[in-house]
């Protein structure tokens, strides 16, 4: 399984696609998490993502190892953005390529669910109805 794990300021779906596309695979499943313009009906102006980078990368590698053990996945990409993000910006991209689409869906959902539970990244929300700090 080829793995690409990246934490950086700006991420794109295209770079994930470029990594996973291969003529040997039939199915690619991609999850993109974007910044919403509201949380519980409160308008969000922007987010700030903070990260304990060496541990975050290590936890992401652990997830990749779990995927490799559980499913016959050929390629896996995990990208996470950090810093200031605005509504519509992409915060996270998970991309999986496999010869079988069913396990590609399962693996992709597993990765994003687990990432949200274990990877030390924190989101701070800034609201429109808040005093600027």
């Amino acid at each position: 399984m080829d793995v690409l794990i990246t934490i950086k300021e700006k991420i794109t779906v295209e770079e994930a696609l470029a990594f996973i596309q291969t003529p040997t695979c039939g199915g690619e499943v991609i999850f993109a998490g974007t910044v919403r313009n509201h949380t519980h009906k409160r308008a969000v102006t922007h987010l700030f993502y903070e990260c304990y980078e060496p541990m975050a990368l290590s936890e992401m590698r652990k997830i990749a190892d779990q995927v490799k053990e559980k499913w016959a996945i050929e390629k896996l990409v995990m990208l996470h953005a950090i810093g200031a993000l605005y509504p519509g910006d992409i915060a996270v991209v998970i991309a999986v390529a496999s010869a079988h689409r069913g396990i590609a869906f399962d693996a992709c959902e597993y990765v994003i669910d687990t990432l949200k539970e274990t990877v030390p990244i924190w989101k701070k929300e800034f609201f429109a109805d808040e005093q600027p700090v």
Binding site: Y52, M55, A56, V119, I121, W122, K123
Partner: protein, 77 residues
């Protein structure tokens, strides 16, 4: 020794690296001390300690050569 703080813990303490007393040599003692220093941390749904970039159980011991970090509930993705 200096321990790394993130997210709401960093905001609560007002600093990114916190100096903790030398008598603290395991995770459970560190957590107890943090709760004493910053009682509001008890309201968090979880508070994990990472030793050398891995989640540690309460009984794990450490020395001042280890990298210790306080991990409040994560919210990436």
């Amino acid at each position: 020794m200096g321990i790394l703080l993130f997210g709401v813990v960093k905001e609560t303490a007002g600093c990114a690296v916190l100096d903790c007393p030398a008598y603290i040599k395991d995770v459970a003692t560190l957590k107890r001390w943090l709760y004493e220093q910053y009682p509001s941390l008890q309201q968090l749904s979880s508070l994990m300690i990472a030793v050398n970039r891995s989640y540690a159980s309460d009984d794990q011991e450490f020395t001042d050569r280890d990298e210790i970090a306080v991990i409040p509930p994560v919210s990436g993705g």
